[in-house]
Subunit: 348 residues, 3 copies
């Protein structure tokens, strides 16, 4: 595909994005690649000025640049075709989609799938080998259940949702439309509810349900428990990475993203647009406000206000945390200074 | 069900618990709910004074209260039926069980299960679709193996244990009676045993076994490895949450509870009644005494005495930790104070 | 087996290792055991001087000792047969292998496996019950696919690799020879790639692949994602423990070992021979040099030079970290000292 054709296809999909391009060069582009590994004939992108040096050394034949004139000049000097846009990563995502056809099995109900006769199955579904669907389940249209998925009774799965291999959906879970549940994830399992008594743990039945709203993604081997009463809820378009644990009775808002190994204890409330970086933990009953950001490995024990950025374990305001970290590194030196002062005082 | 009938049923099961009630009100109760989401017609509970304000604003028709006279007066003023008990959460757990019938499949051996002819299967078992049981396995009475469970050779599973979908039990593992293994968990897998040599890692065969005593629960996608020699053992009635990792050769006592993402390295010894909060890590060969508590995200590198509470990474006595955290927040200020003192000294 | 025969078999396999032995004693040895739980008739080992006291109290009939004369004398006094070698743990690993025959199913393709007709299957393979192999997959000779493994299209698996139960290999993944993928692991799944826009997350297609070189091991329920473009690569003989997460586009060198719950964000580059202890997290795009060591629970946000040892979150040079930890414990005391100084100054 000529670069100009490619740009035209992109352009049609980036309405409103300002876009300039270098008309002098129009190479053939056969694929997309990361800028540090791009062979000749590929299109790549420069996310920001941090990666600017790659304009010089990449073998890519074409680049998606940020809106930066000096990068445009460099690219032209290097004989590279380019376009320059406000959000290069977004446009690169579109470029990938032009070259890549994701694996999508054809509609089929495999004869080895075991489907309870009371289940309601939509049209044009794929139900792979060895899938198990128990009583009272409702599966929407164009749903894709990859091999060895197990669906417990009375689950509802909305249109076009994709459940990858070996994942398990527990009784009464409600999954919206356009969700993606990655391999090995477990949704709607029993919350960790035990009451301590003199004679040991007494199990609290987990009679609640788990609800995933539309367009939620749940990463591989992540787990989302249901509560004793009420529901655990993940809001629309929220994305969870791999090995995330969401405890019973949590409420997570819309458009959040939680990175790998994040853990939410019971009854946590998370607003909309919240970002939790890798290995963050949030304690029981804590409330996290809209658009808050929690940086990697932080431990949150008290409520976070909307828009706040917090860091550390226990978590502090990020600005304070950066200062405490800077001093922390110098603690041995601080200690020596203090002891020196004390000695001088003793002498005085 | 009338509130009075409900209380009678509860009462029969809380022998010895002191219990008072408000006889004036006797509403119909159709279900149970969390206090902050309870509609009229439901029973809820107030765990402690922290939640006291919900007595005023909850729509629940009846409440399980702690032994607190002022809450009783408030509840009566709000027109709510109530009982007042020593452990409201425990009584609420019983109330849930009155209204909730957990999903329990009928005894059946599904024709798609693949069971080695040498396996011994107890009576009244449920063996779901696509379960695989290898040679020499012994399955007790009334065991429930949900779909796609895989049992490697020579495993023993005690009476009434429940194994949820997609979990894997490795060779020679012994699981006691009344255990619950949640979906995706892996028990008795090879320990991470490699010996470093000049020519790379040499694998140490993991010839030991994993033993779960009676009434153990293992959370979704948790993993418990077997050791090179000897055994990994989880004591009676110990409960593990989701995504917990127990390394090879660990010995965990009875009645412990480990929260999500807890990791035990190799050869750790944990006493009875130990609580490990979320994302705690315990290093190789460490011993944790009975009834110790390790707070969230702590990293334990040295032995913990019975009853101790430790926090932080590396873990300190909790009382010290609370003080160090308080100072840690003020490190930038401390640094300024120290520098100010030094300047004044220089002048003097 | 007589101890002398046993030693002969070991010796044949430890070419070049200096080895002395006690010829006076030649007990019958029927098995191997951990030194603190070894009954009479077993062989055990003393890894180093830390475990020296076990020479006195173990019931083992024979011991593998380090090259330490005083331990040899003690063992002789206790009436124990022994050999003394440079690397007792390595020799013990060989001794285990003499007594232990790991479970290895016979070659067979189980009739319940669902194998696409376009898949190429090598000779002497084991393909267990309910395995699913999609279109265009290539399986080498003597590969072992345990029950319920799911292989997406166009995957390649090299000779003698073992995939344990319930694991999932995603489209186009390449697995080398002699790899071991433990139960529930997920390889080649979609990276966590979403571009934030004003109208929410836009999914970036993950068109890349995941490559495991020869002799890689991946622990139970660990996950390795594929990137948007290019590849995620795990180098030869690298070993990953359970519940590890490797983000999209990471490159991990050879002979590394990552302990449980380690998480690598996207695009991390790790050299050869790197050790990451439990619950370590590495941030996006960070580079970790050859033979670096990161201690447990550390959080790495900037590049690590070859051979460096780092600790803490955020990670510091280990030598500095040990000092900061020592002062950290004394922060309350430091604070008091500083305040006392300030008070005295105010008076002066």
């Amino acid at each position: 595909m000529k670069f100009s054709e490619l740009v035209e296809k992109l352009n049609s999909e980036i309405a409103g994005q300002s876009l300039t391009q270098n008309p002098a060069l129009n190479p053939d582009i056969y694929g997309v690649a990361a800028v540090d590994a791009a062979p000749s004939g590929t299109l790549s992108y420069i996310e920001g000025l941090k990666f600017a040096s790659f304009v010089q050394c990449s073998d890519a034949s074409a680049l998606i640049l940020p809106l930066d004139e000096s990068l445009q000049i460099q690219a032209t000097e290097q004989g590279k075709a380019w376009i320059s846009v406000a959000n290069p990563r977004l446009v690169f995502a579109e470029a990938i989609a032009l070259f890549y056809r994701p694996y999508q099995p054809q509609p089929q109900i495999h004869p080895t799938a075991v489907i309870d006769r009371s289940a309601q199955i939509g049209s044009e579904v794929y139900i792979g080998p060895h899938v198990v669907i128990q009583a009272g389940v409702t599966i929407g249209n164009r749903v894709c259940l990859h091999p060895n998925v197990v669906i417990y009774p009375e689950v509802k799965i909305g249109d076009r949702s994709i459940l990858h291999a070996n994942c398990t959906i527990h009784e009464r879970t409600q999954i919206g439309c356009d969700c993606v549940i990655h391999s090995g994830a477990v949704i709607g399992s029993e919350g960790f509810g035990f009451v301590p008594t003199a004679s040991g743990w007494v199990k609290m039945e987990q009679s609640g349900i788990t609800v995933l709203e539309d367009s939620v993604e749940v990463g591989c081997n992540s787990t989302i428990d249901r509560p004793s009463v009420g529901e655990t809820r993940i809001g629309k378009a929220t994305k969870l990475d791999n090995l995330v644990h969401i405890g019973h009775g949590c409420t997570v808002g819309q458009n959040c993203a939680f990175a790998g190994h994040v853990g939410l204890a019971g009854g946590v409330t998370v607003g909309n647009g919240v970002l939790l970086a890798g290995q963050v933990g949030i304690a029981n009953q804590v409330k996290v406000g809209d658009r808050a950001i929690v940086t990697a490995q932080s431990g949150v024990h008290s409520d976070i206000q909307p828009g706040d950025i917090v860091s550390g374990s226990p978590a502090l305001a990020n600005r304070l945390y950066l200062k405490t970290c800077a001093v922390y590194k110098r603690l041995p030196e601080l200690y020596q200074s203090l002891k020196a002062l004390e000695r001088r005082f003793k002498d005085s």
